[in-house]
Symmetry: C2
Subunit: 368 residues, 2 copies
Amino acid sequence: MSEVYAARRTRLRERCNAGGSAAALVSRPANVRYLAGAAPHGAVLLLGRTEDLLVCSGPPDDRPTQGRPDEALPVRTLPGPGGDPAVTATGLAADQGAESLATEDHHLTVVRHRAMCSVAPALRLTDLGQAVEQLRVVKDEEEISCLRIGAEIADQALGELLESILVGRTERHLALELERRLVDHGADGPAFPTSVGTGPNSGRRGHRPTDRRVEEGDFLSVCLGATYRGYRCEIGRTFVIGTSPADWQIELYDLVFSAQRAGREALAPGAACRDVDRAARQALDSAGYAENLPALTGHGVGLEIDEDPQLAPAAMGKLDACVPVTVEPGVHLPGRGGVRIDDTLVVRPEADGGPELLTITTKELLAL
Amino acid sequence: MSEVYAARRTRLRERCNAGGSAAALVSRPANVRYLAGAAPHGAVLLLGRTEDLLVCSGPPDDRPTQGRPDEALPVRTLPGPGGDPAVTATGLAADQGAESLATEDHHLTVVRHRAMCSVAPALRLTDLGQAVEQLRVVKDEEEISCLRIGAEIADQALGELLESILVGRTERHLALELERRLVDHGADGPAFPTSVGTGPNSGRRGHRPTDRRVEEGDFLSVCLGATYRGYRCEIGRTFVIGTSPADWQIELYDLVFSAQRAGREALAPGAACRDVDRAARQALDSAGYAENLPALTGHGVGLEIDEDPQLAPAAMGKLDACVPVTVEPGVHLPGRGGVRIDDTLVVRPEADGGPELLTITTKELLAL
């Protein structure tokens, strides 16, 4: 694995040098993990002029779920509590003779940035921008394999829940049980707070579970994901409770299902992100639900659950092969509930069979 | 409750005006909740020259566990996605005729701060510092009552776990079960990730649960807390598994217990924070464990689990009445394990009976 991290750092260094900076300081935890193999709490990565260093505030956490630091990367640990690794790393960059240092200004606070300026007044701090986030968009097969295993775990946890009695249980209990099952099946933990919505809460994106109990006739929507070796996937499904769904439930479900399928089918290398969004949104728009739609219909996933690209009406850019994204249109009708269907897929060229579906739980409307 | 929030905002406004700023922008979520009753995702609070406003990025979350926004406070919601409430609020401050705006530079990123500067170039941005955090240190009886209920919930969850079979279960399962019980008993959720450490992992501060199973003869240390109406408490206990603790276990336990008692007994209005730390640390130091001790032996709790004051060797300042703190010395011996004992208490004057213990689970060494 060491070569993988070294190659990623080389790519970042080339971008920095092209931007006029001999050195860079990476502080955002997911970016540190991407480039160094692990992101111990508070650690920063210095891409120095003469040497790269992982600067940590304390001894590294040795749990495997936190990643293993690249063994080829020297580690510097602050001597006592209270210090800021970013400030220490800035001093080290200056000691290495760097004249400018590119920093993650979308992550550093104003106070930290000021302390970094003070420790090395001759060093010019520039903005690295989202350079590492951009490198992270296209995944290698090792990363995709982690996402695939995470998706299998999420499918298993969801499948087991569906075999149990649901009526009378609260959203909060169902969510906790799903999270326990994720861990049982080998996840590092949930990829994000599990969402369970019943009745009027169903179909709301990011709904946080309440004490409402599942009732006959409800829509039940569930959104969960596993973290596996740091990689986070997402699956969302909507079910009906009881033997006979109402007509409006069947109609709404079919509509969202066809929208989600259109979104999935639009995934291809070279497709504009906004066109994928439009594909998923169109049927819902023309059925009169324009007001009830989420701001985005999908997003990238990886070391964070919400990464680039965004699938949204104003999104710029095109998809590449090996980019994992969610496709998750939904409609929520205030007071009544709604439907969301959410898959994680990897963009693949037509020649390789088209988009690879990672979350394989059925999307038929199940009556439970 | 509205008067409580208004009074808190008045106190902050007085501090800002004394510091030369007519307006302030509060962005740190716990600070927004303290002053506005709730902190919807991304929301900021503007203390304006002529009007206070809660600026939100979307419709407020109406779950009671997220707090209720002060009804006397006008709410401004951004029209579409992608905007930054902090930038909008900065523009509103300028519109209200403010010449300077105090901001939370320890929370704002460099990029957000730059965007705020750009939207109102004539407005001078100054650093509010930790003014709101300082207001939050001394709690009112309503806040203490939330902490007290949270501590009861944590005591209940822990008590139930102790009645179950422990040998053979993993740290991760025990932690998940504790978190489920917290929610069962009415917590909003865990106050922080529940820590369960067995055998060589026992006694490590902030240990994250692994797949290690509880074995006969182990120390088992558990640290958990409930969030209740936003307020977070903490309890930690160490047990031995099996009928007869080894001599070294009894000795180490007695030592940490006496250190923790010394810390608790040192809590009084006017006591220096470093003296409380020293009281808890002294016995452990002189027993030769100076190298095995954590950087702090306690800290404030409230809307966040780790607040001011810090009980540490270099801590400045003194305790006041009605300040809730943890007292949590511990010793961890690499490869063998250790002991931590952790209570949440409220500093009270001698005349009121001295420190009020919120977490009442026994601190006798239980053999389970």
